[in-house]
Amino acid sequence: MSLGYVVSLLYQYVDTLAFLLLAALGLMIILGVVNVINLAHGELIMMGAYIATLTYNRAHLPLPVCMVLSSIGVGLFGMLLERFVIRRFYDDKLGALVATWGVSLILSQGTLLVFGPSMQSVPLPAWTFSYGDYSFGGYRLVLFVIAIAAVLIAWWIFYYTRLGVRTRATMQNADMARALGVDTRHIYLLTFGAGSALAGLTGALYAPTTTIVPLMGSQFVDVAFITVVIGGGSNPIVGALTSAALLSLIATPLSSTLGTFSGRIGLLIAALVVIRFLPRGISGYFQDVRYRHMARVAS
């Protein structure tokens, strides 16, 4: 096994990790704070890709500007969605699942009707480097850096700002937070907007790497759902990081030796096994351990 092969595996690992993190982080933050699953997440990603592609191809803006625009656009759309749909399902997770599923159908089929089955995509920035016999796309590393930056920014907001304190208070005990003057509805609205903006950013970032079709959301959501299930919503950031790291560890060798399909099957089996033992996901397990520790210290 040459060093080049190891570097190539590492590159694949980093690539998968970035994909899982970007696809799942927004969904997971929404689950953790608002306590609903947004099944239209894939369609929000698709929307991000469409906005980026349209602004790039029709308005000829520079690519980074297009990406920022699609992030903002999808974030605003997410806030509308929260205000008019999600708000009715705060205490009904299955209801929220089914309602957002209707939204996802409307978005994907509506896009199919308006823009047709496919669209000219954005050219991939042609940065490459090589190591040994292998050559790599530099854009993938940029994606990884952005994914890590997104996690760090979320971490900073959660733990080092007043907004983060209010958000964590809402997560821990919404009634108590409300009694102490936190506008939890406002927190939910902002969180849903932020999660949607992350989805839009993900779509825009991956727009150059895939074909732009109305059903492209589904290639993001299957891995995103598994990441969310394994991570759990108790602590979105820890959950997303640990679960994405574990899953890419499983998927990378499987898909590089046996193909992408085996990689996905491996992920599903991993999810089933993990929830058999940790029904609330990795972050739920950490939370249980911490509470048990606190109880022991207190007594």
Binding site: I37, L39, V85, R88, F89, K93, L94, G95, L97, V98, A99, W101, G102, V103, S104, L105, I106, Q109, G110, L112, L113, L215, S218, V221, D222, F225, I226, V228, V229, F261, R264, I265, L268, A271, L272, V273, I275, R276, F277, P279, R280
Partner: protein, 356 residues
Amino acid sequence: MAREYTGFWRVLNGPQEIGRGPVFWCLFAFLALGLLAYPFFGSVFALSNLANFCLYIPMGLGLALLWGYNGVLSFGQGAFFAIAGYVYGIIAGNLLDIPGGTLLAAVGGIAASAAIAAAFGYLVFYGQVSNWIIPLLLLVLSLILETFMAQTAGYQWRVGSVLLGGYNGMTNVPSLEIGSANFGGASIAFYYLVVALMLITYLGLRLLVNSHYGHVVVGIRDDVERTRMLGYNVALIQIQVFVVAAALAGLSGILYVSWGNYINPSSMGLLAATLPVIWTAVGGRSSLLAVLLSTVTLRWVADTLAVRGGEYAFLVMGILLLVTMLFFPAGIVVTLARRWLHQKSMYRDLKQNGAP
């Protein structure tokens, strides 16, 4: 309840279903007789179409049992439908010369769906996961299965003498045959088979949900912890209900393949997974009757719209689902029925007690 029923009738008329009393049963008998008499005046084309709409009823009713009565949402009914269809096609295609081969294939197809459901159910229900995880994982299962089946094109993907067919699907699947009767899609025999299975499924599930077991199933929906504390093995019952729902979806799948002699991967994909959920939600998941009616109606609506393009049909279904969830969370048929029953009881009060 003014009337006292005993035994079988008491269970059949139990509280877990709207539509009780003589008026309902007269209408029901009238409808059933109408369906049975339809072949004497309907054209072959109309019969075949109606059979196609009705063959989805077991799948819809299975989801009503699972989601409406047991509180477990599933986006995997499409997958169980297609698994049974494919397994049926594989077995029937290999046993072409053996009498009763298709019957064996039907049993094999349903058993395959039930077995996969049991394995999946074991992992999630004994894990006591939160209720939102199950639909998500089933959605992922559907997506993975669709991706897998779509790439099985070519001669190397065959089981015995049957080609899996990749994205184009499996073709020339033999129809069900029992003895000398052939249940092809355009035959009157198939129509009667579908009507009989639909009535048996409806009445059977109605008995099930109103039995003692059914009350435990509903108890789990209303409060899992309390039911567990009362000493019931919640996970086991949930697995059983899940397997029954999967087997019913499999039954629909086999009827579908027998009707069209054809199945393709999109029947287990994302869009197929949504349809049973839409029928159940729009009709009203807490009533088998409502789901039965909405399944046939929405199949008809989708079929009519699909002439203009599949995307219109799915767009309308999506809008219908969203509107139902926002404004009729109990389902449209159930909401209307409850309103009607409420008005009727008010009218009766008025007659008994005089004007207020």
